[in-house]
């Protein structure tokens, strides 16, 4: 197999051809500024309106509740800071988890430095929060609960509906970072009692640099980027029409084929998990065995370090990711794996293979085959493995 095998779809996805095809006209003839009243502007405005409508419908929202942003990180920052500042007269307490994406964690930490209190909920060994912990964390100063829909590293899916209900019952805003969930899970914001939801197109075969924030009607939230009257006066900046059209097309495709997509991914995922853990000793699946994203495989490969694993995989044209500190430029390995109770050493050696629509069974076989050799080679080099062999 001499083509590239891409198994890092949780980091970003290849864009679908249909998506690019839908975008191109808005880069060429339909380039107008949607705020303008002449033909080119109206065409762009129409595309924007129709896109908003389609996105809304897919999420069970109305068009007036969808705001386009520059991606997941902006959506998270806006939702959290915008909602907290707008509601600070009601309280200054936020509840989140220890396994959020950095866009949420660092936004919360920023607010901590600016007068807010944040509770970071623990998770269990599967990356699941405890609903009672959430209930106990609520105080009369709690104004926002922000808990991710599905985790980007280990794929664990939180009980969003229950969380939404608790938030609603306590009159607290509920934001969910659904960046990994959108395109993989059917979501109805109404049914799930979600007030704010972040999504990002490049996670579901759309372009990078475009996302959306769902803001339930009536939610008090400040704009985050001030300026022109775009996005109903809530998010300034000339609209990125081509990318909005791309996001929408990608979202439509994802939900048209959701069952097919999920069945295929789950089959490949379970095969991958099975084949790896069966054929390689000292491996352990991270994340929830059932409540996990259809394409997520996260396995600790004890006694070896993640970055050298990734480099070795890259040498045989396999693209994957790891919770190793060495790949993130930070000192500590994945905060998610640590929160789930993994030791630093084991967390450094975790491997994430995230499957997507373009992966095949043949590729899964190729990955497993190569992984067996690579792990053996790296372990042979590892001083940590010496003693293990002796123990065995």
């Amino acid at each position: 197999m001499n083509k590239n095998i891409y198994m890092d779809n949780a980091a970003t996805t290849p864009m679908k051809k249909e998506v690019l095809d839908a975008m191109i006209p808005y880069y060429t003839e339909k380039f107008g500024n949607p705020s303008s009243i002449y033909a080119q502007g109206r065409e762009a405005k129409k595309a924007l309106d129709e896109s908003r409508d389609k996105v809304a419908r897919i999420l069970g929202a109305t068009d007036k509740e969808i705001f386009f942003t520059s991606g997941g990180s902006e959506s998270d920052n806006w939702a959290i800071k915008g909602a907290c500042y707008a509601n600070k007269n009601k309280g200054n307490h936020i509840i989140t988890t220890k396994i959020e994406h950095h866009a949420v964690l660092h936004a919360c930490e920023y607010l901590e430095r600016n007068g807010f209190d944040v509770t970071y909920l623990d998770v269990d060994e599967y990356g699941m929060i405890d609903i009672d912990d959430l209930k106990n964390a609520i105080t009369d100063k709690t104004i926002l609960i922000t808990i991710m829909f599905a985790n980007n590293e280990v794929g664990t899916i939180q009980p969003i509906k229950e969380i939404g209900k608790i938030a609603k019952d306590n009159d607290i805003l509920f934001h969910t970072d659904a960046v990994q969930a959108v395109g993989n899970i059917r979501i109805d914001v109404e049914e799930l009692n979600i007030d704010l939801l972040s999504l990002s197109a490049h996670k579901f075969y759309g372009p990078k640099g475009i996302g959306a924030l769902y803001i339930k009607k009536g939610t008090k939230i400040h704009p985050y980027i001030h300026g022109g009257a775009q996005e109903r006066n809530k998010r300034a900046g000339t609209e990125n029409v081509a990318s909005v059209v791309g996001l929408t097309k990608a979202l439509e495709l994802a939900y048209e084929n959701l069952d097919e997509h999920n069945n295929k991914l789950k089959r490949l995922r379970d095969k991958l998990i099975n084949d790896i853990t069966k054929n390689i000793s000292h491996t352990k699946l991270n994340g929830h065995p059932e409540k996990r994203l259809p394409g997520n495989v996260n396995i600790s490969m004890k006694y070896i370090e993640g970055e050298s694993l990734l480099l070795s995989l890259d040498m045989v044209n396999i693209a994957a990711s790891s919770g190793s500190a060495c790949t993130s430029g930070s000192l500590d390995p994945s905060h998610v794996l640590l929160a789930m109770g993994l030791s630093h050493g084991v967390a450094h050696g975790s491997l994430r293979l995230s499957l997507g629509d373009f992966n095949t069974e043949e590729e899964v076989d190729y990955v497993v085959e190569n992984l067996i050799d690579i792990v053996a080679r790296l372990r042979k080099m590892s001083p940590l493995f010496e003693n293990v062999k002796e123990e065995e």
Binding site: Y303, I304, E305, G306, E307, S308, L311, M315, S324, A325, C326, G329, L331, P333, S343, H344, G345, H348, K380, M381, S382, P383, L384, E386
Partner: protein, 139 residues
């Protein structure tokens, strides 16, 4: 992000393994930080006759170990003592800033193995008087 030289040493690391009856063994780093290097020395008449390493760590940790062993193999103890992390990094055509600590680790692994040798043979190696690898190692 890595130079071709780093990748070459990562792909084909020199001197991987153990020396059963090593004259000196040094291990630095820890699993918590994500890198451990272990160096085995075979020393005859003050000359490093053989050297092997084992490393748990990232690409640059493995390449640095490999390069460090290459640089000291066949050299005298004094020459090996002159090995600096900078020399290791330079021999690899450079390391990313965030990875410089790997070359530090390699230097320390060598010194640590030499220290072990000096202790076992009850000799003094100039420059190792105050060496304490556990204390020095940090990212």
């Amino acid at each position: 992000m890595y130079t071709e030289k780093v990748m070459e040493h990562f792909r084909n690391p020199r001197n991987v393994g153990e020396i059963e009856d090593a004259d000196g063994v040094g291990e630095v780093g820890n699993a918590k930080c994500g890198d451990i290097m272990k160096i085995y020395l075979k020393i005859e008449n003050g000359i490093i006759k053989d050297v092997k390493f084992k490393t748990f760590g990232c690409g640059s940790a493995i390449a640095s170990s490999s390069m460090a062993t290459e640089l000291i193999k066949g050299k005298s103890i004094e020459e090996a003592m002159e090995l600096t992390n900078k020399a290791v990094a330079e021999a690899l055509d450079g390391l990313p800033a965030v990875k410089m600590h790997c070359s530090v680790l390699a230097e320390q692994a060598v010194k640590s193995a030499l220290l072990d040798y000096s202790k076992k043979n009850n000799i003094v190696i100039e420059g190792l008087e105050d060496f304490n690898p556990d204390e020095d190692h940090h990212h």
